[in-house]
Structure formats: structure tokens, C-alpha cells
């Protein structure tokens, strides 16, 4: 426990340093944050336009889909904000910057994450929150404490899962200098996919986003429980409540793989 506290404290310091660095270019920061917000806002306008034309999607109304959208985007924005360092990791390995992190007596994953905390993602976070709140007020949902808690858990689990994907992508930089765009596809494609109910997709897709990269467990299933919808795919309420945990599990697995990568780096250098 003391170790976790220690780690969180250091991470908080990293955040502070990033804030102060990025505030050196305040105008640019404000612009970028706004741009991020508007850009992700446009995505939602597209969703709105489709609901405006077709009325509903697989039995889901716009506010219901908006709730899903808000969950996914908040989770993704959090992950993008705090795990941006992993996104740039290939560059770090190439330039030898990773050696420096190995020369410090702290966990490498923590240092990579702290290396670049991207604040402008607040733009997407805010946009996701606005959509979520709009949806929450439109829906006839009794906001009981378990439901609120489930939403928070889903966001945290989702953030963990997306972070895991970024960690996994970064890990491959230990083996290959080619950037693996495939991961971006899974990550960004995953955001796009899980904004809509899982029933929309074919079996293969559903299985992929449930069992391989369990994105549906941090978005679709918790959303079902919050909305009180029955699942055409037949999941139970208890599974829906427990499902965000898979996000954390996924991150833990990815960090294990990361450690394998670090071990590989130890034996090969760059």
C-alpha cells in the first residue's frame, strides 16, 4: 500500500511537471484543447445526424447510444492523456532515451507514462462528459448509487483497457522499429466500434471485442445494466456489473508483457 501511494505521489509530480511545461505555450495549449473538443464534438454530430434520419439503431434511442458514447470517449480521453508517453515510445527507444529511464530506480512503465502527460485531451474528456450528462438527463434512469458507481467503474476500466492497448503497442517497439499501425486500428477502431451497441456487429467482431480485446466489457455490458435493458446476447446482470473488471485485468496482462519487453531490451540493447 505504501508503495502504491509512493508511486501515485510520483505520478502526481509528473503531472505537475507536464502542466507547467505545457503552460509555457499557453495559447497553443488552449487552441489545441478547443480543437480536440470540437473535433470529437463533430463525431457526435455525425451520430446525431444518423439518428435524426433513421430514428433508432437496433432498438437503441439516441440518448441511450449517447450514454455509451460518453462512457467510451471519457475512458479513451483519460487513457490518451495519461499514457501518451507510450504512444511516443518507439521514438524514445530509437533515440536511446529509454536507457535514461533504466538508470533511475523506478518502474519503467511509470516513467514512460509520466514522460508525457497530454493535457489537451481534457478537450475530449469534457466533450464526452457533456454528451454523457445530456444523455443522463434525457433518460428515464433512476440514478441509484450502484448505477453511478458502475458508470465510474466502467470509465476507469475502459481507461485501463485503452492504456493496456497503448502499453502493448509500445512493447512492440522493443522488437521492431516499424510502428505498428495495426494497434492504432484496434484502438481507434475500438473507440468507433464500441460507441454503438454490440448487437450491430457480426459474431466475429463481437467475439473479438469481448474475448480478445475486451472493450465491450467496459462499455456495452455496463451500459446495459445502467439502462436496465435486457441483453439480446443473453448476459446476466451480475456479469454486466462485474464486467468493467476485465479492463483492469487486461491492463495487468499488458504490463506483464511490457516487462517481458523490458527484459528483452536488457539482453539486446537497442
Amino acid at each position: 500500500m505504501a508503495k502504491l501511494q509512493d508511486t501515485l505521489l510520483l505520478y502526481a509530480r509528473y503531472v505537475g511537471v507536464s502542466v507547467r511545461s505545457q503552460m509555457q505555450y499557453r495559447a497553443s495549449f488552449v487552441m489545441l484543447t478547443f480543437a480536440t473538443m470540437l473535433i470529437s464534438g463533430l463525431e457526435f454530430v455525425a451520430t446525431w445526424a444518423l439518428f435524426d434520419r433513421f430514428g433508432s439503431l437496433a432498438g437503441w434511442t439516441l440518448p441511450e447510444a449517447a450514454l455509451l458514447y460518453g462512457l467510451v470517449n471519457m475512458a479513451f480521453a483519460l487513457a490518451e492523456g495519461w499514457a501518451r508517453g507510450f504512444d511516443e515510445f518507439g521514438q524514445m527507444v530509437k533515440s536511446g532515451g529509454f536507457d535514461r529511464l533504466l538508470l533511475r530506480p523506478r518502474s519503467t512503465a511509470l516513467q514512460v507514462a509520466g514522460h508525457h502527460v497530454q493535457l489537451m485531451r481534457i478537450g475530449r474528456l469534457a466533450q464526452g462528459a457533456v454528451v454523457f450528462i445530456w444523455a443522463a438527463t434525457r433518460l428515464q434512469v433512476a440514478w441509484s448509487p450502484p448505477r453511478v458507481l458502475l458508470c465510474l467503474l466502467a470509465i476507469a476500466g475502459g481507461a485501463a483497457l485503452f492504456s493496456g492497448l497503448m502499453v502493448l503497442q509500445a512493447t512492440f517497439a522493443f522488437w521492431s522499429t516499424e510502428s505498428l499501425e495495426v494497434f492504432n486500428t484496434v484502438t481507434y477502431g475500438g473507440v468507433e466500434t464500441t460507441q454503438y451497441p454490440l448487437t450491430v456487429y457480426r459474431d466475429g467482431f463481437r467475439r473479438f471485442f469481448t474475448y480478445v480485446v475486451p472493450l465491450a466489457t467496459v462499455t456495452y455490458y455496463p451500459a446495459l445494466a445502467v439502462l436496465g435493458r435486457s441483453d439480446p446476447l443473453g448476459s446476466s446482470l451480475s456479469f454486466q456489473y462485474a464486467s468493467p473488471l476485465f479492463g483492469f485485468l487486461f491492463l495487468i496482462v499488458c504490463l506483464r508483457v511490457w516487462n517481458l519487453g523490458v527484459r528483452h531490451y536488457h539482453s539486446t540493447g537497442s
Binding site: D6, R20, R100, L103
Partner: protein
């Protein structure tokens, strides 16, 4: 107990090979061939507390591989290494908490922030207690004259100023062993002198053990009593600068400045290797004639304004050794 004990250290890398041309590129899609490259071929040495050792060799000789192993970044293929009582790659975190590393080419400071913020963050990373940190920082600011730099963003520092700050940053956790990798690269003459003086003082006054890798032979000459020369993964020499010289040549040089520019010197047991007006550089072999004899000989025959004995520049010696081992 030695600070560093290296025993029969070896490291082999596997490099993937690709045949040239389109066919090769296609073939490598399916099947890659690997070739072993021996970076270190069983080297051994020990370093005692308080030593300041120059670790030199041409590019690709195995220098950085050694330093990476000693600092815990790289796991070797064979051999035993003990640094400060630990095996570096087995207890990375514990190990690196007791060493400091400075890369001349790369700063470890946060680019957009005032220097002091980087220091504060490093305190957190290395878990240095607040009072110890205060004390160390005060000392470093004093010895390195940093007080005016602390509030400046790193990107605005000159290269020399940044190097001083980087040196301080590497010492905040009071390491017992310091690795310096090309610490004077790119610096102007004055900044070089400043850095060298700082390193010398840290070594002398605080007993800090220092390993210095560099291509600047002036660094070696002014700092190191001991040199380890490595090439192609083998240690060629481990000893004083003097011994390194002898490895190539015993030749010494006598520089004389004649009172009269038109004088011509001959009939002495030395060779004129360079002449620039009244200034002459003679080369002689101390085994055949001692410096005292030679000087006596010359001064009794020719009017001399000034003279001094010089060793062959270390640059030339090293260049000679590299050349010899490459052919």
C-alpha cells in the same frame, strides 16, 4: 573492496542479416538469417574507490556495451560483474540508486522547465529525503556556481551551463560511482576547462569514483591517472598514460626556441621533425640519450632562448594504436 570488479565479461549480439537486392528483401520476409557479433570478448578489470579511470577506444570497440552492463542497462552473455557489491542487472533499481550517469549528448533535464524543477522531480524519483537533498543541493550550487541557473528554463541554457546542471542532476542522490559519457563534447574551451575542474574536484575532495569515456584526449590527459584502452572487445591496455605511450613509442620530444632564426642544428642524437621559424621540434629516444644529455649537448653548441621536453601528443598515440589494431 573494489568499487567495480569485472571478470571475463563477454557480450554477443545477434544481428539479422539481409541479402542485398529485391530477391533478398523478398527472402527476408520469410526467413531471416542471424549472425553473431562479439561486442565484448571476455574482459576483466577492477576499479578501486576514488579512482578516476579513462575508458577509451574507437567507435564500436565495446565501450558503450561495457558501460551499459556496468550501469545495469544490459545483461551480458557471460562473466561476472560486481559493482558496489551488487550484480547490476539482477537488482536494477537498487543498483542505479547508487550510481550517477551523465551523457554529454543528451540532457536528462526537462526541456521547458526551470532547472530547479527537474532537480525537485529527481529528488522524488530517487526518494532522497528532503533534508539530505537540501544539503546536497546547497553544496552543488556552491561548488558548481549554479545559483543563477536554477530558475532558468533548460532550453535557454548554453551547452556548458547545461552540462554543469546535468552533472549536478546526476549527483543529487549522492552516488558513489559516476559514469561520464563524453562530458565535454561540443563545449567551448572555457566550458571544457570548467567541467574538467569540477570532475577533478569531485574526485579529489569527495572521493567519488569516476569512469570517463571520451574521444577528447585532453580530457584523459588532464583527468585520468589510469586508462583502460579497449578495441574489438578486448582490453589492449590497462595502466597509466605513460605506459600507453610506451606501447607505441618511447620517443620524446624536445622543443627549442633558437636565439637566432638562421641557426641550423645537426650532429646531435635527435631528429628534427618540425621547424617553424626559430621554433624547432626534435625527436629523440630516451634509451639512447637522456633528456639532460641532449639538452647539455645542444645548449653548449647553439644559442638557445627557451626549451622544454614534451611527450608525443596522446591523440597521435591513440590514433597509432587504433590504426595498428585495425590492420
Amino acid at each position: 573492496m573494489p568499487v567495480i570488479a569485472v571478470e571475463n565479461l563477454s557480450k554477443t549480439y545477434w544481428v539479422s542479416e539481409r541479402a542485398p537486392g529485391t530477391w533478398g528483401a523478398l527472402k527476408s520476409l520469410v526467413h531471416r538469417r542471424h549472425r553473431a557479433v562479439e561486442a565484448l570478448g571476455g574482459i576483466s578489470f577492477t576499479i578501486q574507490p576514488g579512482e578516476l579511470v579513462g575508458y577509451i577506444g574507437p567507435n564500436g570497440a565495446g565501450k558503450s556495451t561495457t558501460v551499459k552492463v556496468l550501469s545495469g542497462i544490459l545483461v551480458p552473455s557471460g562473466g561476472a560483474v560486481t559493482v558496489l557489491g551488487r550484480t547490476p542487472w539482477q537488482e536494477r533499481a537498487a543498483h542505479v540508486a547508487h550510481i550517477g550517469v551523465v551523457f554529454g549528448q543528451r540532457t536528462q533535464l526537462w526541456w521547458d522547465l526551470p532547472v530547479i524543477e527537474s532537480f525537485d522531480l529527481l529528488r522524488e524519483i530517487y526518494r532522497v529525503p528532503r533534508e539530505d537533498y537540501r544539503k546536497t543541493l546547497d553544496e552543488l550550487v556552491e561548488t558548481m556556481a549554479l545559483s543563477e541557473l536554477l530558475d532558468t528554463p533548460v532550453r535557454l541554457l548554453s551547452l556548458g551551463q547545461r552540462m554543469r546542471c546535468d552533472l549536478a542532476a546526476a549527483l543529487l542522490h549522492r552516488p558513489e560511482l559516476l559514469f561520464l559519457d563524453e562530458p565535454t563534447i561540443g563545449l567551448d574551451a572555457i566550458a571544457k576547462l570548467t567541467v574538467r575542474n569540477l570532475v577533478k574536484r569531485l574526485n579529489r575532495d569527495q572521493g567519488l569514483t569516476v569512469i570517463l569515456t571520451t574521444h577528447d584526449m585532453d580530457d584523459i590527459e588532464s583527468l585520468c591517472s589510469r586508462v583502460i584502452l579497449i578495441n574489438r572487445g578486448k582490453i589492449l591496455l590497462d595502466g597509466t598514460l605513460e605506459r600507453m605511450r610506451q606501447l607505441v613509442t618511447t620517443e620524446r620530444r624536445l622543443v627549442i626556441i633558437l636565439a637566432d632564426e638562421s641557426t641550423w642544428i645537426d650532429g646531435v642524437q635527435a631528429r628534427v621533425i618540425h621547424r617553424d621559424g626559430a621554433r624547432l621540434t626534435l625527436s629523440f629516444d630516451p634509451d639512447q640519450i637522456s633528456a639532460a644529455e641532449l639538452i647539455g649537448d645542444i645548449t653548449s653548441h647553439y644559442p638557445i632562448r627557451d626549451l622544454y621536453v614534451e611527450a608525443a601528443p596522446i591523440e597521435e598515440i591513440v590514433a597509432q594504436i587504433y590504426q595498428d589494431t585495425h590492420t
